[in-house]
Each structure stands twice: as structure tokens, then as C-alpha cells.
């Protein structure tokens, strides 16, 4: 740095010759600062905005996905239970109707016996229908399920007893003939 430069540097205060219009400029500054209320802008960077959008998308997708899967699982569970119940139901129904048919067709039975048996069956049928209605209201009730099963068992037992009677009478008849 030569003398000329040094001289300028040493006297640089002289160059601060202007006076700012302080109050006018401050008013402008203050009004501009007031115009922007202090807001915390979290998403100033476009990268953050992008990241936030992606997060929201992932979040929404996951929620929907979870919801759908849960409903599906629930439905499929229910479906399995329903299917099982229906299978049991049809099995017993078939069995009962087959045996009733057997009884009806049996020529050896007295009409009174037949009637008595059928009225019993009707009673059990009625009971079964009420139980079924009850079950539709409350599937998970163990007692109702048990009652339904018992209803079927009773019918089968009834039929078996009847058939046994028939067979017994047959045997005794055979024996008689044999004795004779």
C-alpha cells in the first residue's frame, strides 16, 4: 500500500459525509416488519415440503390399508365361522329329515305312535327356530349354540329310540314265530 492509499485509509472517516433520514427510514422499516407477523414457517424449504407431502401420502395409504385389511380379516373370520355353522346345520338337518322320512315310511308303526313322534319333532322344530333367531341376534353366545346342538341331539335320540322300538318289536315278533 503506497502513501496515497494509506492516506485515504487513515482519513476514511471523512467519506462518511452523509446523514441518513433516520425517522423516515425507520418508519418504513418498522411498518414493513409489522406487516409480516411473526409466523413460524416450518416448511420454507421446498425439500421439506416434498418430504412432508410424501409422509402424509404414506400415512394416508397405511391407514387405509390397515383399515381394509382389518375389515377383510374380520369378514373372512366371520365367513369361516358362518360356513362351519352352516355345515353343521345342514348335516344335522339332513340326518333328521332322513330319519323322519324313515319313520314316516315305516309300515310297521302305529299311526298314533307316528303322530306322537311327529308332534315331538314339531315341538323341537319350533324350539330350533327360536334358537336360530336368537343366534342371529347374538352369534357369540355359547349357550345358544349349545342349545341348538342339544336340540339336534334330542331329535336324533328320539328317532333312534323310535327305531330301536321298531326293531325290538320286530325281534320279539320273530321270536314269537320261532317259539310258535
Amino acid at each position: 500500500m503506497d502513501d496515497f492509499e494509506k492516506y485515504i485509509v487513515e482519513n476514511k472517516d471523512v467519506f462518511d459525509e452523509h446523514k441518513a433520514d433516520r425517522s423516515k427510514m425507520w418508519n418504513n422499516i418498522e411498518s414493513s416488519l409489522d406487516k409480516d407477523p411473526k409466523t413460524i414457517r416450518l416448511w420454507r424449504s421446498p425439500l421439506l415440503k416434498l418430504a412432508a407431502s410424501i409422509l402424509i401420502l404414506i400415512g394416508t395409504y397405511t391407514t387405509i390399508n390397515l383399515f381394509i385389511t382389518a375389515t377383510f380379516n374380520h369378514n373372512s373370520k366371520n365367513n369361516i365361522v358362518h360356513q362351519e355353522l352352516r355345515d353343521i346345520d345342514t348335516y344335522y338337518k339332513d340326518l333328521v329329515s332322513f330319519q323322519i322320512q324313515l319313520v314316516k315310511n315305516n309300515p310297521k308303526l302305529q299311526p298314533e305312535d307316528k303322530e306322537e313322534f311327529l308332534s315331538f319333532m314339531d315341538e323341537l322344530d319350533e324350539e330350533y327356530n327360536t334358537l336360530k333367531l336368537e343366534m342371529a341376534k347374538n352369534l357369540n353366545n355359547e349357550f345358544i349354540l349349545e342349545a341348538i346342538v342339544n336340540n339336534y341331539k334330542k331329535r336324533i335320540e328320539l328317532i333312534e329310540n323310535l327305531l330301536k322300538q321298531i326293531n325290538d318289536s320286530k325281534k320279539s315278533n320273530d321270536n314269537e314265530s320261532y317259539i310258535l
Binding site: Y7, K12, I29
Partner: protein, 179 residues
């Protein structure tokens, strides 16, 4: 008392960070004249300089939270004013550095003896320097930036800054001698 010069006006700066308008005003009072003079030297027009200084203070107070005492508050603010002034010149399409052959200029010592050591004459001489010359003389001698910093501010190379400065100085001496 803070011994480190970087922490000058730390109290005011900290309060300004939390939005204290009174502290902001005190900082403004302390620095407004210096900043206004810097901008005047860069731009030469009162209204332009006022606009730039206002914008600079607004930006400084809005971003004061990012000020981490890596420099003094004054030099941080000064850099904002200088950058805004340069941008202002660019917007007005005023060439910051004249393009006349400066890439090929070999820096040479100025041999012309300075006739007068009158600082007021030099001041007047600087005022009538062409735009680009005036800015580089101001940045180097008055604002106290070195050529690396000037190169960064003006977006030129260090060697261009150096050669440009020597041409400006030569021109200034010529002007001063004729005054």
C-alpha cells in the same frame, strides 16, 4: 465486559433476535449512518441508497436469528448492504466493472506523483470516477475488503479485482491532479 470484538452489542443483538423492537431500533440508530454512507458510495443516488438501506435492515432483522457471531454485527450488516447495493446496480443494468481489456491489463505501479494530499479533493475525485472504478476503490480503501472478498462480492476473479483496482487508482490520481 466482552473482550471479544465479535460480541459487540451482543445484548442488543440477542434481544433483537427475540423480536424486541426497542433493541432493533437501538441497533438501527447505531449503524444507520454508516450503512447509508456505504450505500451512497456504491450507488451515488440518495433515494436508491435509502431504499437499499431500508431493505437491508428489514432483511437483517428478519434473519437475525441466523447471525452466529462469526463476524461483528456491523460487518454482517455491512455485507448485506453491499450485496443489496450490487444487486441494485445489476437490476438497473449499470456495469459494475468496465469491460475494457481488463483481462489483459498488467498491473503497474502508478508513477504519477500525487500533487495534493487534500482528502477533500480525493473525496471529490472518487465521486466523479466512472461507476466500476468508484466501487472498487470504495470497497478496497474505504470498506476495507481485500481482493479475495471483492472478487466474491462482485463475482469476478481475484486478478481481475487487482488489475481493476490499479486502473481505478491510476484514474483517481489523474483526476485528483487536475482538480
Amino acid at each position: 465486559m466482552e473482550t471479544n470484538i465479535l460480541y459487540t452489542h451482543k445484548d442488543l443483538v440477542e434481544k433483537s433476535k427475540s423480536g424486541n423492537r426497542n433493541s432493533q431500533y437501538q441497533l438501527y440508530e447505531l449503524y444507520v449512518d454508516a450503512m447509508y454512507n456505504i450505500s451512497m458510495r456504491m450507488l451515488g443516488i440518495k433515494e436508491d441508497a435509502e431504499d437499499v438501506v431500508q431493505e437491508s435492515f428489514i432483511e437483517a432483522f428478519k434473519n437475525i436469528k441466523s447471525f452466529r457471531y462469526e463476524s461483528t454485527f456491523g460487518s454482517w450488516l455491512k455485507r448485506i448492504v453491499i450485496n443489496k447495493s450490487i444487486n441494485h446496480l445489476k437490476l438497473k443494468k449499470i456495469p459494475i466493472t468496465p469491460l475494457d481489456q481488463h483481462e489483459y491489463h498488467i498491473s503497474e505501479e502508478v508513477n504519477d506523483p500525487v500533487v495534493s494530499n487534500d482528502i477533500n479533493k480525493i473525496k471529490d475525485g472518487i465521486k466523479i470516477l466512472p461507476n466500476g472504478y468508484r466501487q472498487i476503490i470504495s470497497l478496497y480503501l474505504i470498506e476495507g475488503y481485500d481482493h479475495i472478498e471483492i472478487a466474491e462480492i462482485l463475482g469476478i476473479t481475484t486478478s481481475t479485482s487487482k488489475s481493476q483496482y490499479h486502473r481505478a487508482k491510476k484514474k483517481l490520481i489523474e483526476i485528483v491532479n487536475t482538480l
